[in-house]
Each structure stands twice: as C-alpha cells, then as structure tokens.
C-alpha cells in the first residue's frame, strides 16, 4: 500500500483518522478546511462529528462544517441495503447508498425511486436532509413523502428510530432539516413500481414565459413528470422562450423490447479556465438549442437521459473553473404571471446571460418543517461566481422573492443573508425550536447554519 509522507496534521480519535483537507460542495464555493472521516461504519464516525455529508452535491455550504478544522462524517461508504420487500416496495438501507446504485440495481427489477432530483449522484441521507423534489413534485410531492422511518444519531449521542409515530416532531424537522437535527444513519422508503424500463416523453417549444407556465401547469394535469426550461436570450415578447418537457413510464406493451443500455459518460478531468464558459458561447449554445427543436418531439427515452441529462458529463461543475458557481433556486407563489416575468427581468438586467433557467410547478407543501417546495413555481439558474456581483444579485433577487412570499432552496444556497432568509421563511423559528430541544447547544451545525441560523462558528 504505497503511501506518501504525511505532511498535514492528522486528527486521531476513537472515531478514526483523517487529514485536514479542503471540503466544498458542487459549486466549488465556498470551501472550508475540515477533517472528513470516511468509513463503512457510519455509527462510529458520527460519534462526536459536527455534521454528516454524503456525496457533496449540494451546491453551496450546506454540507460543510463551519470553518476551523472541524470533523465531518462522510456517509458514502455506508451503502448497504438492509431489507427489501418485493411485495410492497419498502426498502431500508444505510444512508450513504447512492441513488445511482439504487437505480442501477432496482430499475431492471421494475422499481424506481419515488422522487428523483436532477442528478443521481446523491445519497439517501442527502435526499432526506434536503427533502429533494423532482419532475413529479406536482403529483408525488417531495422525497420525504415516501420515507417511512429513519435511524438517527442525535446530538447527545443516542441512536433512535424516528418516524411519523416515533418522535414525529424530530421526523418532520429532519425532512428538509439539512442534517442539522441529527446524523441520518439509515433510511426506509417506499420504492415505486414501474411498468417498464423506458420513459415515454414529449417536448414542445414555447415562445415565451407566459406560454411556458400555462403549458407546464396544463401538462401536470395528465403527466406524472413535467419540467420546463427557458433560455435567457429572448427579450420582450419572447422573454422566457424555451420548451416544456413531459414524461411518463412507458407501458410494457409499448416500450422497446430491449433494456436501456448502460450510458457512457464523459469526464471533465480538470478545472477549466474561468473564461471557458462566457457570455458569447452560452448565447451560442442557447440559440442552437432553441433552433434545433421545431415542433413537438415524442419518443421513448432512456430514464437516465430524461431524469439526469447532465450526469452524462462527470464533474461538469469544472466547466466553471476555479472561481466556482452557484445556483439560485427560488419558489414564487402562484400569480397571474407578473411575478415570474419580474424575476426574469431582474435576472436579465443584473445577471448577464445565465445558461438556462429550469422551471417547475410545485404541488402541495409536504411534511418537512423546513422543506423548500410550496405551491407555486420554482426557478433554478446556474451562475458563475463573480466577485462583488454575485452577492449583490442574490440580494436583489432575495428581496424580490421575499416580497412575493417566496423562498430559496437551502441545498443550492451559498449567498443568502440571514435577515433575508428569515423574511422568506418564518417557519425557521418553529423548526429551530424542535432542533434545539434535541440539541440545545447546537453541537450539530454547518457553515450554512452559522451563516443563516445564528449558530456559533
């Protein structure tokens, strides 16, 4: 076992050893120094850890301990499936099991995750902590709706079974609680039975934001999976042009007989220079993408292409270079369309040319006390971080969103100010009360909880 000479200070504890490393989320910003413990034995390494993180796919600082060399437990090696009932679809697994592995193992057997975010490089624990949503939110709610039980290590060290019956408050505070109410060790959920391994999908171009929203909401009445995307080239009457994409699982009788092949992946092996993605080529990409589609397109799709188009490029975050990037994702309550247009106007005025905007309508609010989705429309926009500008843009957007009664998604956030968060999400007090009843000294905390919830660094 070759081993280079150890140059960094090591932490040595009963829980394991690790070296001080830079830890960051998917957006590569911010990063903090921390000791990340990795072991198959999640119970052991969470003892005394300040936070648990999975695959680090949240964009901002949610999966980072506060700066200062704290210990964070990494769950991704704790990935065993503990039980599966093929009659009911109930599955129990260790929290580090990845969605990519879950899908790979179960799709051929006729089961799929009940709710899927836009990437499958997430862990079950992370999906609970962020209470993720997907293209079926209008019909199936968040991931938390399908979670029946959790096994958790709470701040005082005890290990508990937590569910709607046992410790219901802790359960509700943990769905969407960003890992701050306890370390999630095991997750029990109900998988969804699917009739085939293929998705039948349709997409159609839409000339502007109003039509996009109208078609998206209309599609939700008959389709289980819907999403829209808009480019940011259109102005005036074409502002928010893009397409609406609809999908459902193909019936066995209509689906292609063959199983979908394993998709090849391209890797981005190194950070690309900061200028790689610039306004010119983003414009060109969007123009081509818009023009390439004319008329309605229909067909059978690989579930991977439908649910996770960007997963085909591993490490695509490196396109943005060392400066890093963030995603602004907010939800706005239902409106006649004026607030949606206003959001676009702010983006276009202050944000240059974002790559594209993903749009999705949400159904009812779920059980999670701090879960992001609420009825209305959500918008997600990737943006490179520009010193001085990004903070100001997020502030402007947040002030607008707060005024409209909307809120932002903690799993994406790195820039929101605490006063803005509080204005957008008054539920935080009730959630914090439950959290503090289990953890009065806020032993479990993150860079994000220090930034937003007033925890000690």
């Amino acid at each position: 076992m070759p081993q280079t000479v150890l140059e960094q200070p090591a932490t040595q504890s009963a829980a394991g050893s690790a070296h001080l490393t830079k830890v960051h989320g998917w957006g590569c910003y911010p990063s903090v120094e921390a000791y990340e413990l990795l072991s198959e034995d999640l119970e052991r390494i969470t003892e005394g850890a300040m936070l648990t993180r999975g695959l680090g796919r949240s964009y901002g600082d949610a999966s980072l301990p506060p700066p200062g060399g704290h210990v964070v437990a990494g769950s991704r090696l704790a990935d065993r499936i503990l039980s599966f009932d093929s009659a009911t679809g109930v599955l129990r697994a260790e929290a580090g099991l990845s969605l990519v592995e879950l899908n790979r193992l179960f799709r051929p057997k006729g089961w799929f995750t009940p709710v899927s975010p836009g990437t499958q490089y997430v862990t079950l624990g992370g999906m609970v902590a962020a209470d993720v949503h997907g293209k079926n939110h209008h019909a199936s709610g968040t991931f938390g709706r399908h979670v029946s039980r959790l096994r958790m290590r709470v701040a005082d060290g005890r290990i508990l079974e937590v569910s709607g019956e046992d410790e219901p408050e802790l359960f509700r505070a943990t769905l969407g609680g960003m890992g701050l109410t306890g370390h999630i060790l095991e997750v029990e959920l109900e998988m969804k039975a699917v009739p085939s391994q293929w998705i039948y999908g349709e997409s159609e171009p839409v000339p502007n934001l109003d039509v996009l929203v109208e078609k998206l909401v209309e599609a939700g009445k008959s389709w289980p999976y819907t999403v829209g995307w808009a480019d940011c080239l259109g102005r005036g009457a074409t502002m928010g042009r893009g397409s609406v994409i609809k999908g459902r699982w193909a019936e066995a009788s209509e689906a292609p007989a063959r199983a979908p092949a394993t998709k090849g992946k391209v890797d981005v092996p190194v950070l690309l220079p900061d200028w790689f993605l610039n306004r010119l080529n983003i414009r060109a990409f969007n123009e081509l993408k818009y023009r390439a589609q004319w008329g309605v397109r229909k067909g059978f799709l690989h579930p991977q292409s439908f649910f996770y188009p960007l997963d085909a490029i591993l490490n695509w975050n490196r396109f943005y270079g060392a400066r890093g990037f963030t995603q602004y994702q907010c939800v706005l309550p239902p409106s006649g369309g004026a607030s949606y247009r206003k959001l676009f106007e702010i983006l276009l005025k202050n944000g240059g040319t974002p790559f594209l905007v993903v749009v999705k309508d949400f159904g009812a609010e779920g059980r999670g006390m701090l879960s992001f989705p609420r009825p209305g429309l959500t918008f997600a926009i990737d943006m490179p971080i520009v010193a001085g500008e990004t903070q100001a843009l997020v502030d402007t957007l947040n002030e607008f969103v707060a005024g409209e009664g909307g809120r932002v998604y903690l799993a994406k956030d790195a820039f929101t100010r605490p006063e803005h968060y509080r204005a957008m999400d008054p539920r935080v007090d009730a959630w914090n009360e439950v959290r503090r009843s289990w953890d009065p000294d806020a032993r479990l905390r993150s860079s994000q909880s220090v930034r937003l919830f007033g925890d000690e660094p």
């Binding site: 076992m1 070759p2 081993q3 280079t4 000479v5 150890l6 140059e7 960094q8 090591a10 394991g16 050893s17 690790a18 070296h19 413990l37 990795l38 072991s39 198959e40 034995d41 990494g74 090696l77 065993r80 499936i81 503990l82 039980s83 599966f84 193992l105």
Partner: protein, 245 residues
C-alpha cells in the same frame, strides 16, 4: 460459484462480494463482528445472491476460529468451491515502528494467520478435487519501500506463499490467485493522502472477478499498477534510498 468469503463486510471485499451476489453466486461470510456480517448478508441477498447468505464468526487474530468457520461454510454451501480472503490489518510505518503490540498483530494477521487460514481452505478444496483460492496481498510486497517496510514485509511473504501454492497445486486442480491492489480508496485508506493512480473499489472488484473466472494466478488492480510496480522493481537501491516512495 459457492464462495466462502473472509472480509466481505468492508472495502474491496464488499465490492467483490456484491458483484458475485449480483450474478447469483452463493455466498457464506466470515468475519469478526456478527452484527456486521448479518447486515452484509442481507445486502447480498437483496442484490441477488442465490439462497440464504449465511455467516460465521472468524477472526484473523484467532487461529482457533478458522477450522470451525470453514466447517460451517462447507455445511451451508454443501462444500464451497471458492475461498476469498480480503481481510487484513493495516497501519502506517510510524505506528508500526512505535508499537510492538500493533506490529505483532499486523504481522500475524497479514502473514502468519492468513497462511494458516489458506492452509485450512486448501486442504478442504484439494480433498474434493480443487477449486479457487483468491487472496488479497498488496503491491506493498513488491519492493522494500520506506513507507511500508513492515506491512510490505508481511505482504511480500504472503505473495511468495501464494505463488508457491499455485506452482505446487495447480496441476491438482487448485487455482491460487494473488491479488495485488495498488492504492484503492476505501475505509482502510481513508485519511491517507491519495497518490497518483489511486483506484475505486468497484472497478477493482470487476478486475478481480475476471481474474477469478479466468484462473489468473496474479492480478494487479487497478491494472496500471502492474507497470508502476515494474518500474519500481527496476529502480536501483541508491534511488530507493533517496526517494520517499
């Protein structure tokens, strides 16, 4: 295959056992901790292992547990045809130099007792006409190197034993497979600085399973380590004394 597996709960062993389960092999697990074995057994059953995955306690530091554990495996599998050993102990050179008890445990587990375990398995396999014995050694045993003087010595001895075993018994139907992993990112190596050419457990497991199926006596994983070690074996002593690697 009917596989008795020492070390399937963690790291590369977990990945290899899962591949076997997914293709429907029968498995019986050996290890130190009954709770861990039970959890891995359930995991492997869900993944597709044929029948019930049984387990028995077996500790590389307690030689007296070997015969009984293999007896249990034989009973459960109606005679195993493959034995896999991925278990072992690891500690850094500094830790091993500073702690005689730890040194004793690592040398005994990785060399003396692994060989005792293999002898026990070998006799059972030969008695029914052969089979496969697949044991994880390490590239650390390929050359005396500063960061792995002691661990490497144990693995060097183990590698030589496995090589000899294959020479002696292949004709009688016993295929011995020595696996030489390079640096692989597992719980065992977590916290160590990651060198170039580091691998992940799943691709390594695929390489090893192909070698088991093909009966190859020696396998480097990831494959690039065959050439890395070829280069390192050819370095002059003066260079080995000068570099840290």
């Amino acid at each position: 295959m009917k596989v008795v597996f020492l070390g399937a709960t963690k790291g590369m062993g977990r990945a290899l056992a899962r591949l076997m389960a997914e293709r429907g092999d029968r498995l019986f697990l050996l290890g130190r901790d009954a709770g861990e074995l039970e959890r891995s057994a359930r995991d492997l059953e869900v993944l597709g292992a044929k029948g019930t995955v049984g387990f028995a306690e077996c500790d590389l530091l307690r030689r007296e547990t070997f015969a009984g554990a293999l007896e249990d495996a034989d009973a459960a599998l109606d005679g195993f045809d493959t034995a896999v050993v991925t278990a072992g102990l690891f500690a850094s050179q500094d830790e091993l130099e500073g702690d005689a008890d730890l040194r004793d445990r690592v040398l005994v587990a990785d060399f003396v007792n692994t060989i005792h375990f293999c002898e026990e398995a070998r006799q059972r396999l030969l008695a029914r006409g052969g089979g496969t014995l697949c044991v994880f050694s390490s590239v650390a045993g390929e050359r005396g190197r500063k960061p792995v003087v002691l661990y490497g010595a144990a693995k060097a001895g183990l590698s030589r034993y496995l090589e000899g075993l294959d020479h002696k018994y292949r004709a009688q139907g016993l295929k011995t497979i020595a696996v030489k992993p390079g640096f692989v990112k597992t719980g065992m190596t977590a916290g160590l600085p990651v060198p170039p050419f580091a691998g992940e457990p799943e691709p390594v497991a695929k390489t090893v399973l192909r070698a088991i199926d093909a009966g190859r006596p020696e396998v480097y994983a990831p494959g690039i380590w065959r050439w890395v070690m070829l280069a390192i074996r050819s370095l002059p002593r003066a260079v080995m004394r000068a570099i840290k690697f």
